[in-house]
Symmetry: C2
Subunit: 378 residues, 2 copies
């Protein structure tokens, strides 16, 4: 028997932050109120917020003093919006008939309560499989940016995560570019990780959990979760086969030319050349002795040509890329020297840090454009 | 006979800023290349950039060393985009056949030149009529925010500017709210100002010219211009009759109640109540003794009620407003106490600074909503 009423005093700041983070982790898409809601449960241990969008779910604990243990569910957007700018140091949440009241000294906000019986209860997290440093998780989760935003092919909207000894392999691709990271972890004895997690969730988990000193991975039977500092967030692993072997092969570059260049300088030059890249967005990189030339050319926009200092090892090759993929591939190496390994013909170019740092081993692949190809990447 | 070539050396920063400001003043709307272009003219005095979108026009002088005097025209967006992130301290602009080249030590950007013969030459500024302090201009130009964004009724998309002795009267309205300012100015002897200027241009001129110590107004025969620090920007006055008398009458409020309240506190409370304001966006202000209550109520969103400290003089009235109009009306008084003068029935409520400051005399009117009116402001 659930207590249908609730009365709890809680700090405004921590609750507002939890509500805002929950909304970012589980953005409201569904029209079903229950999938757009948040379940609040007060008990002797404090206040728990829990929500699910039907696929992913999240729980977080907030310190609170319960006057009456119980549960209530409201819209998670309404809760986050109401709390966002409240400056009272603490507030009281209490059920009042069909409403959940948010009360401060001088204000009362009455949110319509959602039906508890039809409210989806987030599952418990699967078993813990290992621990990563928060900063490594944050850096590695950035691979999610290489996934596709379109839902047509679920395979390309996910981040593939597998345990591989002392590292976790994380990889995402939309077919035109691929990002991979291998953050070090401390696995539980005998634990394995073998999941395919929606990229948008991984990206948000990178931002949120990455601020914690460490994060814990959980996984079993097609389920995945991450926990840190009072939070547990999980989802079902996508049930599609991932072409692991082909993609792993792609990652072993056989460079015909290797260039070392300042990532920020190259990104700035590519950004300028993009204005001359025409409707295809095609920017040309031309390797020379001690330099790298960035070119754009389009009948309508005109031509650009910019030369950067760069260390070249190998052949003086020329490749064309989509400007925005180059910019994405350079972003993780901002403030550092990047290494570009250029392969034969249309095999992908690999972007890595010129001075590899321990911990994450980030690698970005971008497939060059076919010269004067007007159909590719349409 | 115009020199069809041009060769000039110019500082990158000042030129990039001029190109960016020009693009903001005259955003590219037209498909006609000439109306989306900028004319560059180099001579012994430096470099002049000039452009027109068919209605408004702008000129700016940049210090430069001309090697060959002459003219060239290119897309103003392309010029601004190319210069935006260039970090070379100076650059050379020179015509090269059908291109205008932007050259730095290590880069060349070749912009397609536009036809000079069909390029619209901005007119000279009309005669100067007076001078305002830049900060006063900036504060007064904010009245542009009360104009309508829709073009259906040109009258409501403009700022009415008239000289009135020692002040300039500036006023804009979209029928549901009205903003008026009366900045002090130093007029030329016998000079008059009587124009109707597009609000979007006034708003941008407030941001840009408002950083200057002073700005000069120019006007004659249905034309208006503003000049400051190397810039002159002008436009045709809209040729529609403005209901000056009716609007001036609106500005003399006969308050049934006057409230003094912290503008930021009220804006924050209105912002929170807006989440409970329903599809009409209706927020209620309820005057009480020493307090002001802000309420929102909607069958779907729930109810909110928040009480602020406020000094009341007069009757304990209740009025309903559109939340976003309240927020707009409070923004100019951020960080200060605002005075609300509430009139009878549906006559507009006046928002002013509780402690009037000399110089600008900003006043904002908001028409209350008809209670339970579901068609108003649709």
């Amino acid at each position: 028997m659930r207590a249908m009423s609730l009365d709890v005093t809680v700090g405004t700041g921590p609750l507002a932050e939890a509500a805002a983070q929950l909304l970012r982790l589980l953005p409201v898409r569904a029209h079903q109120p229950a999938l757009a809601g948040v379940l609040l449960r007060a008990d002797a241990e404090g206040l728990e917020l829990a929500a699910s969008d039907g696929e992913a779910w999240a729980r977080v604990r907030v310190n609170a003093t319960a006057h009456t243990d119980g549960e209530a569910a409201v819209s998670r957007r309404a809760l986050a919006d109401t709390l966002a700018t409240l400056d009272a140091p603490q507030l009281r949440l209490c059920t009042e008939g069909a409403r959940l009241a948010v009360r401060t000294d001088r204000a009362r906000f009455a949110l319509p309560r959602l039906d508890l019986d039809s409210f989806p209860r987030p599952p418990q997290a699967p078993a813990a499989v290992g621990v990563l440093a928060g900063a490594d998780w944050r850096a590695a989760a950035a691979v999610a940016g290489a996934a596709s935003r379109e839902d047509a092919l679920p395979l390309f909207t996910a981040v593939r995560m597998r345990s591989a000894g002392a590292v976790v392999s994380m990889l995402a691709t939309d077919r035109f570019r691929l990002a991979a990271a291998r953050p070090a972890w401390s696995p539980e004895p005998g634990a394995e990780l073998d999941v395919l997690v929606p990229a948008a969730l991984v990206a948000e988990l990178g931002r949120q959990a990455g601020r914690s000193a460490e994060v814990r991975l959980h996984a079993e039977e097609g389920r995945f979760a991450l926990s840190w500092l009072g939070w547990t967030v999980g989802t079902t692993s996508l049930a599609v086969a991932f072409p692991d072997r082909q993609l792993d092969q792609l990652l072993t570059a056989q460079a015909e030319a290797t260039v070392r260049v300042d990532a920020d300088e190259l990104a700035a030059a590519v950004g300028r050349a993009a204005h001359y890249a025409g409707p295809r967005g095609a920017v040309t990189l031309e390797l020379g002795d001690g330099e790298l030339c960035v070119r754009g050319s389009d009948p309508l926009s005109g031509e650009s040509s910019e030369t950067l200092k760069a260390d070249l090892l190998g052949d003086r090759l020329t490749r064309q890329y989509q400007a925005r993929y180059l910019l994405d591939a350079l972003r993780p190496f901002a403030g550092r020297q990047a290494r570009l390994e250029i392969q034969s013909a249309l095999r992908p170019t690999a972007f890595t840090a010129a001075s590899p740092e321990p911990g994450v081993d980030l690698r970005y692949l971008v497939v060059p454009l076919r010269p004067a190809d007007t159909t590719h990447h349409a």
